[in-house]
Subunit: 322 residues, 2 copies
């Protein structure tokens, strides 16, 4: 099988493109006619660093690689539009290719995305994936990491800690039919919720939780020298995580506070919009979100448990720690 034949296969699978795309797969670069504010994000997904093939099939690997990058576009309030895909795999693993592409195709179809191009390469041992996503958002509605103000309330769109607890079950070979494992393999993608938050201009800052609640919250605070109070009993914890706690090696709050890859949105709601937003999630139930704390002046992240307040250590996944 030659690279050229592989690209032919890709062209056949992903050849349907919208009229704004003038040139796509198979040229030196893709050419797109656009307006609005463009959003660009790129992420790596490397075997034995970000995923293991013993836990996921090629289609699941494809979808998770896409979720990680598409989620970043959502966290800006953007609509994901186009994908560039890089795949390096050992020559002898060419069988991986077909099922992987099927996963990509299914995901793109489900989310109205188009593949514009990419690069194929051999690798010596591990599979290497790199996904670049191009999205867009109305010019004055983009939601960055900076922008939170003292008094803003902090919300998340769903359960925390499920993904990291699911990964531990996988690592330890505990194959209980569990939503936790599924949360790790196929995390949620909050496209609709992000659009809702953006359209009504509820948020002053937003991020997707990939490195853990506390570390990602720290990213929202650090550049503006702000702090946050988090209420322990308000943290959304799934019944799955609670019921399986006896199978896990750590206290469940270790997963909830520090576990990565939940891909829920973490955002701050401005004071003037707080009542309206509460009404929307509690009475009108237009989207799911949990209030977990508020932005404060004092730097640092503090956990409130009944009448006790303690400063939380900021930590999370770090690729370059010893």
């Amino acid at each position: 099988m030659s690279e050229f034949e592989l690209i032919k296969k890709i062209k056949k699978l992903f050849g349907k493109i919208p009229p704004s795309v003038k040139i796509s797969i198979g040229d030196d670069a893709a050419a797109v006619e656009e307006d609005k504010l463009k959003l660009y994000t790129t992420d790596m997904f490397i075997e034995n660093i970000h995923f293991k093939r013993e836990y996921m099939n090629p289609s699941q690997i494809a979808k998770k690689a896409l979720i990680c990058s598409v989620s970043d576009i959502c966290a800006m309030g953007g609509v994901p539009k186009y994908v560039l895909l890089n795949l390096a795999l050992p020559k002898e693993e060419i069988s991986f290719f077909d099922e992987f592409l099927e996963g990509i195709k299914e995901f793109l179809k489900d989310h109205n995305l188009y593949l514009l191009g990419g690069d194929l390469s051999s690798s010596l041992k591990d599979i290497f994936i790199c996904v670049t996503v191009i999205g867009e958002v109305e010019k004055n509605k983009v939601i960055g990491r900076r922008g939170a103000k003292i008094g803003d309330k902090i919300f998340v769109t769903g359960y925390l800690g499920n993904s990291s607890a699911g990964l531990e079950l996988l690592k330890r070979g505990i194959k209980i039919n569990s939503n936790l494992i599924n949360s790790h393999i196929h995390p949620p993608l909050r496209i609709r919720e992000a659009q809702f938050i953006k359209d009504y201009e509820f948020a002053t800052s937003m991020i997707d939780i990939s490195d853990g609640l506390i570390l990602d919250l720290y990213f929202l605070l650090c550049e503006d020298n702000l702090g946050a109070k988090i209420y322990k009993d308000k943290l959304p914890i799934s019944s799955d995580l609670r019921s399986l706690s006896s199978f896990l090696s750590k206290d469940i709050y270790e997963y909830v506070l520090y576990g990565g890859e939940d891909y829920e949105l973490l955002f701050t709601v401005k004071k003037e919009k707080y009542e309206e937003f509460k009404d929307i999630i509690e009475k009108k139930r237009k989207m799911v979100a949990f209030e977990i704390g508020e932005i404060i002046e004092e730097e640092g992240i503090f956990l409130v448990e009944k009448s006790k307040i303690s400063k939380i250590l900021v930590k999370g996944f770090n690729h370059f720690s010893d």
Copy 2:
């Protein structure tokens, strides 16, 4: 050293951005205000597949990774604007990082490019680089791979085979102070020439030579079911390649026809513009280009040597051949 500190360093080095960039390094995605036709390209640059650290220092690796992708934007007639950079390297190789970033910074400054974001990761063994470049071009001036017509003349912007011959010298440890080795380590980037070709609308199709003259020429022909005649004595061969031929294991035409990574532009000039273009390169000398052949109706690539015509085997670098 934490990932966060590495990103801080990157922000400090690449913090200067133009006003059209609303959000850049360190957020979930970058946000850019744009017009014109957008061009997107992405390429991998993997240790022991695309480069070896024994042949190049980190700064040279950085620059070559950028050249490969930026060259693709040029080959569309585009102006490169923004870069997204992914780097995965083993934890213990963190020293690679600083010199690599310096190379990136120097290159971006020299070519008026801006870093918008990217992703950092550890890797188990090899260094993995992935560069995405965003460029733009006027709406009706984009030059794709398709578009060549029968009778169009074929041109290249510079010497062929230097890079692959240089790689062979490196592999065999022949450290003659040679331009060939430099052609492999730091190939030319034809930004100015590409803009010239695009501005005056000389080309019907264009590609950059990364896989070898014959294979890249085949890419210009195959989808339109066209053929080409190449004149052997018109192929531009450097005096360096000729003079070092005794050190090389193959006939020099093997490098000229099939050697990859020269990154010269290969393009077809329309009949109506041929005389004007000849005048520009031969008399006005506004850019360097060599006429090497023409587009014909009969499929296949034919080499003309004096009165002999022979069909050339289409081959070049293939990541997935056995």
